[in-house]
Amino acid sequence: MKEINDLNLPEDVKYTKDHEWAKSEEGIVTIGINDYAQDQLGEIVFVELPEVGDTFSAEDEFGSVESVKAVSELYMPISGEVAAVNENLEDAPELVNEDCYQGGWIIKVKPSDNAEMNALMDKAAYLEMLKG
């Protein structure tokens, strides 16, 4: 498993305490799990996705990722309506391991409150949390 300093944690996304990332672009927020989460879970074999059109509040469970070791719930970084899900994950869940910030994104959300993004952690704050 990776050392904290070896983690790939981009500057241009926000982080949650449950190790999801969220990135806002043109009114749509893309959500996935970060490098720490995919590394801890190990080989991911299944991603359970919500339906497009489902609505969730921040911190709601919206799906799960299953690795050879465990199943982990996915939690909403913000509130909103699911605008798209990454259907490629159905046949290629390993994308989450290989490329968690690009090809391995999980859902895209139409946020119901843009201010919620500000409450999420930036890279420095997230690193601080990891180091405890």
């Binding site: 299953e66 465990a70 199943v71 719930e73």
Partner: protein, 444 residues
Amino acid sequence: MRYLPHTQEDIKEMLAVTGRTSLEDLFDTIPDALKTKTDLNLPDPLTEWDLNDHMEKLASDNIACKGYTCFIGAGSYDHHIPAIIPYLVSRSEFATAYTPYQPEVSQGTLQGIYEFQTMVTDLLGMDIATASHYDCGTALAECALIALRKNKKADKIAVSDLVHPSHRQIIDTYLKPAGFEMVTIGHTKEGLTDLSAVEALDGIAGLAVQSPNFFGHIEDLAACKKVAESKKILFITSFTEALAWGLLKNPGAFGADLVAGEGQSLGIAKTFGGPGLGLLAGTAKLMRDLPGRLVGRTKDTNGEDGYVLTLSTREQHIRREKASSNICSNNGLNAMTAAMYLSTIGKIGIREIARLNHDKAVYLKSVLTAAGCEPVFDQPFFNEFVMKAPKNFKQKRTELINRHCMFAGLDLEPFYPQLTDHYLFCATEKVTREQMDQLAKEVA
């Protein structure tokens, strides 16, 4: 499994590890009020021969099917068990095997269970089968929970009132404390589930229909599927007589999403109604939602076939309170028995046995009709059917048990109060023409 009591030395050694001085000291966290203060009120010990006598006397107060002619099914069927089955299942490799968590020492058990799953999927026409559940009732209740998990906006399950009455009770017991509701769907005067009643329901996650139903009738599963599809809910179907699938088109062919069934007919004795064998099968789409054990086949490091528990991440020992079910325990030995039974009779054998059941049931219905019983419904059935008997039959039925060692049908009134003098009859391959003629003679 061996019974090895603790010796005084064992107890002393274990107490030393815990740092306690006596058993009383070890249990001092239990509130005093909960502890028994007096000795248990037990009789004096018996010699082995006296004990055997005593147990045999107790046993003789019960009536077992052996020595009796059984015309009752209703969820537990008196089928022939080939001699090879009890011989094989009582081998210690099978009889004592525990949960095969360690594939390196459990290949035999795992392979047996894998073959069981394969045969169940073949029998039911489904993609995937678990191994296994306590009985049909608990498997069916689990199906209801799966449907509710898949459709979080719904809080009800529609269940036909021709699903076995005990199974409906189990579903209700599972659902009620979780804040869900079982909506009972009535039946038509033809003895089939009244699907029109489902159309008007809102907030339902699934429709559960038994076929052959409790009256023995073969339900229109294609129509059930259509209703489920139009309501966008899961179609769950159950059965109590597994041998019916030797003749009937299987639930998979009708697009069932989930199938729960009783496997007792597959080489398992009736044993006072349990333990049975809960079969649960689903579509590949629901693979990760199925509760209970699954065995998969893979290749080991030498490239040879190997078997291993799979998708365990759904299960209680890994996922704790988030597990898809707390049914972790399986009915391993009964699942193995069913696999042995199905391998013994084979694909042609099951068809022949199913045919015999049906033909005998048709004969029984005809002789009972000739003897003055009224055939209530005119529906295709497998090996069970409902008859309205003459008023004096209730009395006669008790006499038949006592004088002729014959169980003459199940009284339906306790389950369906409007069905006074209605009885559910069953004929399996074991009943003879003489026995059926004798029953008809007694009824007349």
